[in-house]
Amino acid sequence: MRKPRAAIVGAAETTQLGVIPGMSQLQLHCDAALNALADAGLTPKDIDGIACAEEMPWLIAHQLGITPTWVDGTDVGGCSYIMHLSHAAAAIEAGLCTTVLITHGESGRSQVGVGPLDMKWTDMHRQFELPFGVWGPPSLFTIPVLRYMKTYGLTEAQLAGVAVAQRQWAALNPRATLRAPTTVDEILSSRMVAYPFRKLMCCLVTDGGGALIVTAAERAHDRAQRPVYLLGSAEALEMPMISQMEDLTSSKAFRVSGHHALARAGVTHADVDHLMIYDAFAHLPIYGLEDLGFVKPGEAGAFIAEGRTAPGGELPTNTNGGGLCYMHSGRYGMYALQEGVRQMRGTAAAQVAGAEISVVHGVGGMFGAAATAVLSSNG
């Protein structure tokens, strides 16, 4: 295990999650930031670095009265915040700043103070995908799966099993949106959205936000909270259009990001006690488990169906209930990080006993981008 260079010393979500019609997207960022500052026992005066997505960094900085000397506006969809964490650690190590605030806020459901949908569509997407009847992530992110199913024999019941396993975690989490126990049959009886995906295989659409405060590992002691250390991190890009994904059964961005993050952290798969895999749709934990190397290609559907990622399983995964059951404002990566931090602090609603290493893996732009962080409770 490598010696960590940075630590998370503040972490919080918005006071409310779910349906928040009384707060604009900008204020979701700020509400989360104020909660994270309070969590860390810091004030905006202590912050000299700012990173965010959705909104522009100057907006967040000005709202909070911060004059940052380091800024990161990387915006590659839902894994942006995991990249921000990685970049912040490097910037702190390079001496560009000492204390970084990372914010996310998204009025995904109520659409308060939000411009028109901007998925960072490129002109290539407008010319060569959009004219063929695509209408957003449920009609695009899902396209690889039939090829995966034919290649490996994954069944619709196994795809539904992902949602069943995550509902078991959500049942343990009072802040989760969907908590009632469910079954494969119930998932397979929900409304068809884009064959083979049914409504309950697709993420929630909610409002919320989250924020993190990052500083150097050696400055993380004697803080308001137990520090959570960043052991290693990585990121990767593959393509701007799902139609140009190299292999529909495996994400290159996942493989590259996951490999480098674990290598940089100096940990093996056997060291990992807890895993978060961004689940906008039910196939993502399947791709994530395989592409990060936790199981072999084609094995993840059965692995999940056997309960091995569910409560009591050997690899507790998406323990907040995930984007399928906890919340999903459109860009879920921040919530995956928050659950990783809670697990490493020992404060999660569905706490994994004795967990010391957590891997948080995110996706952005529908397999276009990926980022991975390896967190630890030990510095």
Partner: protein
């Protein structure tokens, strides 16, 4: 049913859209390494050579993957398939499968397809694909 989204060609993609209007599927190939590629760009994605040529694809393809949308979109009434086809020359592209029931039973992965063209504006024709055997 509203009209579908109509592509707006750029200097780098004009050959493609002029091709579909002429009933041809036009791809590009590298003169140095022979890589055939799509979507259009004025250099080779495999070796970065600027020596590339436009050529006419056979239009033959196989169904690589798809979803069947159960929600309408501009120009499309559900259920309809949003499909990825793999062209005989190698590149893949997003398209639709026409002259075929939009059902999992009829839409078999790897089924052979042939290009066809659908006019969506005065100047733009979209490439679509139809099964070539039952």
């Amino acid at each position: 049913m509203s009209e579908p989204v109509v592509p707006v060609p750029t200097p780098e993609t004009r050959h493609f859209w002029e091709g579909t209007a002429a009933g041809e599927l036009r791809l590009q190939r590298c003169d140095d390494c022979s890589k055939a590629y799509f979507p259009p760009r004025p250099f080779c994605p495999a070796c970065a050579s600027r020596r590339v040529s436009v050529f006419k694809s056979s239009g033959r393809a196989r169904l690589h993957s798809y979803v069947i949308s159960h929600r309408n979109a501009p120009g499309f009434t559900a259920p309809y398939a949003i499909a990825l086809v793999e062209l005989e020359e190698g590149p893949r592209m997003m398209s639709n499968i026409v002259d075929c029931p939009q059902t999992p039973e009829a839409l078999r992965l790897d089924m052979p397809l042939a290009a066809t063209f659908r006019q969506v504006s005065d100047t733009i024709w979209l490439p679509q694909f139809k099964p070539t055997e039952i």
